[in-house]
Symmetry: C2
Subunit: 119 residues, 2 copies
DNA sequence: CCGAATCCTTTAGGATACTG
DNA sequence: CAGTATCCTAAAGGATTCGG
């Protein structure tokens, strides 16, 4: 996208993670236990079937997530993290850390604002 | 956004970084040298004035970037990374690393595909 | 149970022209 | 030089319905 050879790598990385639900899907799968479609739905209460399918397909496409179909009636499909997907673990870890402190920082700031406003 | 208390921190972090040009703006400012509006434009050849303004305002809003106006004619404005913005450095570092290897991985895969197809 | 298909809304981003 | 203001397009995401 960008001529500049260095920063464009950020974009490549972010493309794999960005998507409204992708970090959360990866987070849950990184716990190690394979999850079925409806298990993921329950873990992500607000996601629609369509978005879950779309995001899982994209993650599968990039080989971050593996899809295993058990030929049964009723059908059973399990999603799990791939070995390559595990390499995202440090990224999500550091994102999570920073995000938590960022949220806390914002919260503290709001508190201060309220106090100075009411006095 | 999400009830689940843990993964939503990712979103908070990503919101600060995501945006077509934000990682690159941050990357350039993290070099340490304050940059003027048009200097940033030159570093990001394809960005429009509008998008540069918008993204800078958002980064400023989150106190990741500092804006200093020198009251002169012609006007001079300098953008620099804040101390808080520097805390993003490890994140961008790890994203950059992973992104680079991800791109390389894809490239190798394409190469293999071409070879097996032509034979 | 695990989706695909269709249609619709919202948001991000871009093109262009103008200004103190 | 460093922006605003307007208008427009494309892409992401959501709602709903249908099917093996």
């Amino acid at each position: 996208m960008q001529r500049n050879p260095v920063p464009c790598q950020f974009v490549a990385a972010l493309d794999s993670i960005v998507g409204k639900w992708k970090p959360m899907i990866l987070y849950h799968l990184l716990q190690g236990k394979p999850l079925r479609f409806n298990e993921l739905r329950r873990l992500l209460p607000d996601i629609t079937q369509r978005m879950l399918t779309l995001h899982l397909r994209e993650l599968e496409e990039e080989e971050l997530v593996k899809r295993v179909i058990y030929p049964q009636i009723p059908p059973k499909v399990e999603y799990s993290i791939t070995e390559y997907g595990m390499s995202l673990s440090p990224i999500l870890e550091v994102l999570h850390q920073w995000g938590a402190s960022h949220v806390e920082r914002k919260r503290l700031k709001e508190e201060n604002n309220e106090q100075t406003e009411t006095h």
